[in-house]
């Protein structure tokens, strides 16, 4: 490959390819640094989740869902807080008591209509022996800052994480805390439940830390795990990209966090896979137990677990889009974030530098492949490299490492497409040049065939002139007769000029130069050149030509087409007794139409299929190049026209050439001039 690269640099176009490749690669890296591929990357992340599939959810976490069945029984939301008080009273029982109880329900203000229900709830919260966390909501925006409830916020300070000198650099900052009503704030533990969404509306991260009035506070998910492991916010140490809890009942806990203070949720699946119970079933089961039945399994399962209580009914709108589900209840996302931390089963996004390095390496490889190999080989090779990379990134993902796919894949595609399209267009240009050369050489070849006929024509002309001159030069010729004879020479010379014009038109250098012209004259000029040749084959030429205004064409090329088709007609008539070629120029549906017909043998069906392909010929070896018709086709298509054929075995063939009319004023003027 190295030799190939060296060789490649000797070609100017290859150097250009390299430049294009490097520029696009640099652009890709720049785009990646500006986060332009993030949206794609996130989508690819979701796909990787789905490829990996669902995993078993840890037994330590459960949730009690306010589901459709609960709404059916207790009526529309929100319920009287009596209901929550009753459930809490049951959960307080030693047989069922969760290690940590987290609410994902906001109790911001007291229910003025049912203060009694609130009192009951407060009473139960007060009597609950294990950590009970009530959520609050952080609001952003300075306009709300003055509505702060300073008294409530004093209780919040208990949960602030101690200052350790360093913290994530771009922590989310809140401007107001919407806390539960004062008694709940006082009696329960407090944690925020804000959940960030990505720009595409999906939830992929859990916010673990938020900065508020220059202190850092833990989220519900984080605090649940802390209490479950026997730690408190006071045990937490923050650094730039990590949360460290040195002493827990399971040893050291390290949580990787982004500069914004969030953590990627390593989703286990959707809510169906999470152990959960319906709120109403909890209550009905407990009633059966109180009436003397055995302790129900659903309630027993809660003991010593982290239990979350929140809404899961579809109608209650706390719904998020996750990689696994379009309508995932918020409570399920909290449960999955808690599981991610508890199992220390993190998903870590590889650093940006890794992404750039991968883009650069794959990009350079793509440039080398695209430059040195033909597209037929480089395409599968690059596709193979890309597939291998995708497989590797999936394997890494399964172990919890997220390496970027979008940036590298798009960079590869961009670089490859850039170099390939550059190649395509230069090749196209080259092809055009080759085609022009081909048309020209085909013309030169027919010029060779023509030369005998034209020489003959000129000999006849010179002969006629010679005879007149000889006559006039005789001594003693009657001056009147000399005048008469010399006058006759003029049309002969005119005829010679006409033939010469035809020849010049035909032989004109091929420049694809379309100019307004008189189609009828071009046909006649061309006919002059081949007429004698056709006559010598006893071919009768019939013409029916009308003046066609407003056509633009390259006279040399068109003359070549007419010549070619007439020569074909001549060959097709070789074995016919009556030989006839007809030329008809007419207007047809706003197009100029030239029909060139013969009454020859017709075109055999197997040739007809490949008529305009190069090197197809029905003539014996050595007689035809097989380029004639493909050249004709090319010329007419270049003119925006069309060439068609009607043929019948034993009856003859007619070629139909269609040329578009130009209606441009300047053309008409030019023609008139």
């Amino acid at each position: 490959m190295f030799d190939g690269v060296l060789r490649a640099f000797k070609d100017k176009r290859r150097v250009l390819e390299l430049v294009i490749g490097l520029v696009l690669l640099a652009a890709s890296i720049l785009a990646d640094t500006r986060g332009l591929f993030t949206a794609f990357e996130n989508l690819f992340l979701d796909i990787r989740f789905q490829v990996r599939g669902e995993r078993a959810f840890p037994e330590d976490i459960r949730f009690i869902g306010i589901d459709e069945a609960s709404l059916d029984v207790f009526g529309r939301w929100p319920w009287s807080r009596d209901k929550h008080a009753i459930l809490l009273g049951i959960l307080r029982n030693e047989q069922f008591r969760p290690a940590v109880l987290g609410y994902d329900l906001l109790f911001e203000s007291r229910d003025q209509n049912k203060l009694e229900g609130d009192d009951n709830l407060v009473h139960q919260v007060k009597s609950f022996p294990n950590p009970l966390i009530m959520p609050y909501f952080f609001e952003k925006g300075t306009a709300m800052a003055y509505e702060r409830n300073e008294k409530k916020e004093e209780y919040l300070l208990k949960y602030a994480i101690p200052e350790s000198g360093s913290r994530p650099s771009r922590l989310e900052e809140a401007h107001k805390a919407s806390l539960p009503f004062i008694e709940l704030t006082e009696l329960s533990h407090l944690a925020f439940v804000n959940a960030p969404t990505d720009p595409d509306g999906r939830t992929r991260r859990a916010q673990l830390l938020v900065k508020y009035r220059d202190r850092v506070y833990p989220s519900l998910d984080f605090l649940c795990v802390l209490y479950f492991l026997g730690a408190t916010p006071a045990d937490v140490e923050l650094s730039k990209n990590e949360i460290l809890v040195r002493k827990t009942r399971k040893g050291e806990l390290r949580i990787p966090v982004s500069p914004e203070g969030d953590m990627l949720i390593n989703y286990y699946g959707d809510s169906v896979g999470i152990p959960s119970n319906s709120y109403v079933h909890m209550l009905t089961e407990s009633r059966a137990w109180m009436e003397g039945g055995s302790a129900p399994e659903g309630l027993q399962n809660l003991k010593d677990k982290i239990v979350l209580i929140g809404v899961s009914a579809l109608g209650l709108e706390d719904r998020r889009v996750t990689p696994f589900h379009q309508y995932e209840p918020g409570i399920s996302i909290h449960a999955q974030a808690i599981a991610t931390i508890l199992e220390q089963n993190y998903l870590v996004h590889a650093p940006r530098a890794v992404s750039f390095t991968i883009i650069a390496v794959l990009g350079l490889l793509t440039i080398a492949c695209a430059m040195v190999l033909k597209i037929g080989r480089s395409l599968p090779l690059i596709a193979g490299v890309l597939c291998a990379y995708l497989a590797a990134s999936q394997a890494l993902f399964n172990t919890g490492i997220w390496v970027d796919i979008a940036g590298p894949a798009l960079a590869i595609l961009l670089v490859f497409a850039g170099i390939s399209s550059f190649r395509y267009f230069t090749a196209l240009e080259e092809l055009k040049r080759t085609q022009d050369q081909l048309i020209h050489s085909a013309k030169m070849a027919s010029l060779g065939q023509l030369s005998a006929g034209i020489a003959h024509e000129f000999r006849n002309i010179l002969h006629a002139i010679g005879l007149h001159v000889e006559y006039c030069a005789r001594p003693g010729t009657d001056p009147e007769k000399i005048t008469k004879n010399l006058a006759r020479v003029k049309p002969i010379i005119d005829n010679a000029n006409a033939v010469l014009n035809g020849l010049l038109t035909f032989a004109r250098k091929n420049e694809s130069n379309k100019t307004p012209g008189n189609l009828k004259k071009t046909v006649e000029d061309t006919l002059l050149l081949v007429e004698k040749e056709l006559m010598s084959h006893q071919i009768i030429v019939e013409t029916e030509l009308v003046d066609i205004p407003q056509t633009s064409y390259d006279a040399g090329q068109l003359s070549q087409v007419i010549m070619n088709l007439m020569n074909n007609a001549r060959d097709a008539l070789k074995d016919e007794a009556e030989k006839k070629v007809t030329l008809k120029l007419s207007l047809h549906n706003g197009q100029a139409r030239l029909d060139i017909g013969d009454n020859g043998s017709g075109i055999p069906p197997k040739v007809l299929k490949h008529l305009f392909e190069p090197f197809v010929t029905s003539k014996p070896a050595g007689k035809g190049t097989g380029l004639g018709l493909s050249v004709c086709h090319g010329i007419i298509r270049n003119h925006g026209g069309d060439i068609k054929v009607t043929t019948a075995q034993g009856k003859g063939t007619t070629w139909h050439i269609y040329l578009p009319m130009t209606r441009r004023q300047e053309d008409t003027e030019k023609l008139a001039a």
Binding site: H463, A464, L467, N485, I492, N495, M535, S536, Q538, I540
Partner: protein
Amino acid sequence: MKAKKILVVDDDPGVREFVADWLEEHGFDVETAEDGEDGFEKFKNGIYDLVMSDMIMPKMIGNEMLRRIKEVKPEQMVVMLTGVKEDSMVARAKALGCHFYLNKPFRLEDLTRQIKECFPEEDV
């Protein structure tokens, strides 16, 4: 003595008119035709002592006209004026019974000689 009648058939007006004029100047009665078909029509409608015809003409080639003339009147004297180098055409003309042929380009003296050969008794 009645003038000899000659039919000149040639699609090239320069040659045709010149030959016709020249023959008339020498006392011949001349008719002209501009192609083979025209020539054969004129031949059918008249009596000619000599038909002088070009070989390559539109509508009907010289040899074809010769063949048809010979079909109608085998003894008709015909001179073919040929500029073609194709021996097969000349050979065919001979086979069809053409008496003489004159190679193009010819000079005035060649034409004179040819006419003398055709009409030895005439004073050209």
